[in-house]
């Protein structure tokens, strides 16, 4: 893995890596890339996609609305609230 890709991943995941960690991670990913190359060599075009390792599926619920929590209860642990809103540092795109 090149340094540019690593820098990008660092940014996306909002991490700050030390030089030592960077070495370690690069070595790890280089190894995984070799593994993936082996897997990618297999022709899977005729293979049915496996969506889960176990033959299980989701349960679904009926579309019924309920509101068991109050705003006050939900915001008990919040560092900053105002008039029912959560408050966060100002973000402007």
């Amino acid at each position: 893995m090149d340094r540019e890709t690593l820098r990008r991943l660092e940014l996306l995941n909002q991490l700050k890596l030390t030089e030592e960690q960077k070495e370690e991670i690069t070595a790890f990913f280089d190894c995984r890339e070799k593994d993936l190359a082996v897997l990618n060599a297999i022709d899977t075009s005729q293979t049915e996609r496996q969506v889960h390792v176990m033959p299980i599926m989701t349960v679904v619920r009926e579309d019924i609305a309920s509101q068991p929590f109050t705003v006050e209860e939900l915001q008990k642990g919040a560092p900053d609230t105002d008039q029912g809103y959560w408050c966060v540092p100002r973000v402007v795109e």
Binding site: M57, T58, S66, Q75, G84, Y85, C87
Partner: protein, 479 residues
């Protein structure tokens, strides 16, 4: 050189469910800040999502309406990005196996008919709302909209003009409203649109640099934006005014310009991966068949049935099929009154004009079709005069529980066949308007109208106009 515009649309539609996609919070718009929120949809650690069945129903139904293949095993994935409107720091969406793929929508423009291919329809959750204007240094966050169910309809880049885009969006709206899966009102934000656009020399099979405009919320704005972007791209290609880059742009409808927002993210940036908290949704035959059986008759099918079987004119049928609400009201009224022509006539001359006067859309029609049928019957059999019938209809717009026959009785709108009474009223009116009588006798036929009007008013409209006219003319002639 001639250029062609290549446009693909991503249309987000809010589904008309009662509760959110992964928790049971109320999905309706309009509550106070964070009143429709629970630990799951505000991203508290440890909370697990549970799929709302109706969201899958509607996703499938939308797919079937758009001629898609339905993936019988469909899965949810996490799309990661950091923004305060997204409490989990990921959006649960569908990336690897969306509910519906490979569809088509037929549109019609001044250039004829054209098929627009649908790449996929996926189910996902909406994000919250950020409010920036309450305080200067903080952003206020409202999670009411978080996890409200959406479908995103992704088209192939098959559209080539603003006109086609408009026809496509109108067609989508109509189909989804017919299927009753969504309101699709851009003015309410229940339908939003991202426009992907590039320009290339006519006949070329290479795509140009693609820019994306996000969250467009009116068809007019979309049309302007397409025209502006097309011109900007051509200018860049021909005159080198700027270097086009793949990016996301914001359309400013007031300035009539688009502005660069950020470099376009690639799929890799979102680090999609299967949501381990949500098992695959497996659609068995019974489920699939029940949705297929619930599909509505299409506008074209209704049009054919109305013109061929019910004998409506092409114009009348075309007016009615504009909205499923009009169709349902018409069909219920027809079932009661038995005359398709009368029912259509009331729908088009009365109901549609009342809706226009009240600035209501056709889909907002709240008249009970059965009650309308009863009213039409009262007018058809002469129990209530047409003018009084209209008054009753207007009252029904105010109060949907009105029973026309009772209301007519209570307000004195029952027609009188008492010729004795009519003659009495006519006599009094003639005495009150000697000048009009003289004018009429002197050859001014129109002069009779004021006496006629006076009689009708006196009789409160409860008189067959033809009967009144005959008695009036007879009486004057005998004088």
């Amino acid at each position: 050189m001639n250029y062609e515009t290549v446009i693909g649309l991503e249309v987000h539609v809010e589904l008309a469910t009662k509760s959110k996609i992964f928790c049971s919070c109320n999905a309706k718009y309009g509550a106070g800040p964070n009143e429709h929120v629970c630990p799951a949809c505000c991203g508290m650690p440890g909370m697990l999502p549970v799929v709302n069945k109706r969201v899958v129903d509607y996703g499938m139904k939308a797919g079937m309406m758009l001629n898609c293949h339905i993936n019988r095993t469909t899965t949810f994935d996490k799309k990661s990005y950091y923004y305060p409107d997204l409490p989990c720091a990921y959006q649960t969406t569908q990336w690897f196996a969306p509910v519906a793929v490979n569809g088509t929508v037929e549109i019609e423009t001044s250039k004829g008919k054209k098929n627009i291919r649908i790449k996929q329809i996926h189910m996902e959750e909406d994000a919250g709302k950020l409010v920036h204007d309450i305080a200067e240094d903080t952003t206020h966050v409202d999670f009411n909209r978080t996890s409200v169910p959406l479908i995103e309809i992704v088209s192939q880049p098959d559209l080539s003009s603003a006109e086609e885009v408009e026809a496509y969006l109108e067609r989508l709206k109509m189909l989804l409203r017919y299927a009753k899966v969504a309101e699709c009102a851009m003015e309410h934000g229940t339908m939003r649109c991202d426009v992907n656009l590039s320009v290339r020399p006519e006949g070329s099979d290479q795509l140009g640099v693609r820019t994306e405009m996000k969250n467009m919320n009116s068809i007019e704005a979309i049309k302007h934006a397409i025209e502006y972007e097309t011109a900007r791209h051509i200018d860049a290609i021909e005159n080198g005014t700027e270097v086009l880059v793949q990016e996301t742009r914001r359309w400013d409808d007031i300035k009539g310009k688009s502005f660069a927002m950020r470099n376009k993210e690639t799929a890799g940036d979102y680090r999609y991966f299967p949501d381990p908290n949500l098992m695959p949704v497996v659609i068995d035959d019974a489920w699939y068949d029940s949705i297929q059986a619930s599909l509505p008759e299409l506008p074209e099918e209704k049009y054919a049935r109305y013109t061929e079987q019910l004998g409506l004119s092409e114009y009348d049928a075309a007016q009615l099929v504009k909205s499923i609400a009009l169709c349902e009201c018409f069909e219920a009224a027809h079932a009661v009154c038995g005359s398709a022509k009368d029912a259509a006539n009331w729908m088009i001359s009365e109901i549609m004009s009342i809706l226009n006067q009240r600035k209501m859309t056709y889909d907002m029609l709240n008249i009970n079709g059965t009650s309308l049928g009863e009213l039409i019957k009262l007018v058809m059999d002469g129990t209530v005069g047409r003018a009084n019938g209209k008054k009753i209809l207007n009252a029904m717009f105010e109060d949907a529980s009105i029973v026309p026959a009772e209301y007519a009785e209570k307000n004195g709108y029952i027609m009188s066949n008492d010729t004795g009474l009519i003659e009495q009223v006519v006599k009094a009116a003639i005495e009150a308007e000697p000048k009009a009588v003289a004018d009429y006798k002197g050859g001014k036929e129109k002069a009779i109208m004021s006496i006629f009007g006076r009689c009708m008013k006196e009789l409160k409209g409860n008189c067959d106009p033809q009967t009144l006219r005959t008695i009036l003319i007879d009486t004057i002639n005998k004088m």
